[in-house]
Symmetry: C2
Subunit: 183 residues, 2 copies
Amino acid sequence: MKELWKKFDEIELTHSSVHHLMAIFDLLQIHGYVRAVDIANYLNISRSSVSITIRKLKNRGYVTEDENKFYRLAAPGEQLIQTVLTKRGIIRIFFREVLNLPDHLAEAEACKIEHLLEEETGQKLMSFIGLYLSENKIAEDFRNIRTDFNYHCDTTEACTNCEADCYFASHPFEIDKPLRRTE
Amino acid sequence: MKELWKKFDEIELTHSSVHHLMAIFDLLQIHGYVRAVDIANYLNISRSSVSITIRKLKNRGYVTEDENKFYRLAAPGEQLIQTVLTKRGIIRIFFREVLNLPDHLAEAEACKIEHLLEEETGQKLMSFIGLYLSENKIAEDFRNIRTDFNYHCDTTEACTNCEADCYFASHPFEIDKPLRRTE
DNA sequence: TACTTTCGTTAAATATGTTTAACAATTGTT
DNA sequence: AACAATTGTTAAACATATTTAACGAAAGTA
């Protein structure tokens, strides 16, 4: 069970491969066709690298190619990038609208993790955002106090995420227990 | 600027290396010492793999070794795993207490992304949790309606995170704009 | 038609992380 | 002391992702 950390490597497609698929998706919308060289320019990598990666994606059934070597997304590829793009959108909105990260950072952070999180996480995050950003009076009140609230600490403890009078300094060993009494 | 996706590879230490550091941290607490074979057993990988990875971590100044090849974390290593562990804790609490993910999933998801997110993201997430889980009356009210709220959709649209009457279906192109009017 | 450019692929190289096998050195046991 | 087990390292191998260089084929141009 301590092999939890290895799950990172069990991700079906790498970050790189996912972006090859997304490049195909984007370029199809922009130009209506995609060749290897288009992907290479779009991602700013070499044609050879694209050639090799796409071959793998074809073998795995994510991409198809016509007689002129113009690419299409096969159904699994289409499906996969839809889920990734949806997750990215949700994560980005969360980072920007809930955490108030600057948009460029929200986007970069979403890009790094979009393909790593499970669908369930994406769904639950959307569910949360659905309420948080709603017209519901209580949600509105919460957003309003959230605007002014800024949790901060000032110690010199090891913890660098916040520094002193820290939330975790005062709840140091409670990570394994529910924080709120759930009665 | 479309090289945003390459930031994934600019992460200073790999997932694997970070876990080697965390293994040292854990094992020092458990046994008071750490040898290569201890790390290998703890992470369930071969001694050779550990030997190679640790050599790199020594060269980069994250790990030191005494005359008997017992390891210690150097200051940068200590500092790094503190930030990673803190981020993991925050993320895990968020997933479990805010999104209501089952704990095993919250933990696995946190493990996958803990080393990828910036410190700023960790801080902002902690700030959010600090309010959300507080005794503040409005926060309590919000938590209460949150308990019952479950956003759900039922379409057959491409989006697989939710399906129909979808939050994003109704706000399809607004990802690039603020969702809430910020007046 | 002949020359040039573009394009896809392959080969060889680099870099990371991993494995197994072999080896040397140390430690434990009898 | 002699044999056995444990430990760390290195070498060779594999897998992934990337690069540059080279090559061949197709397309565009003169």
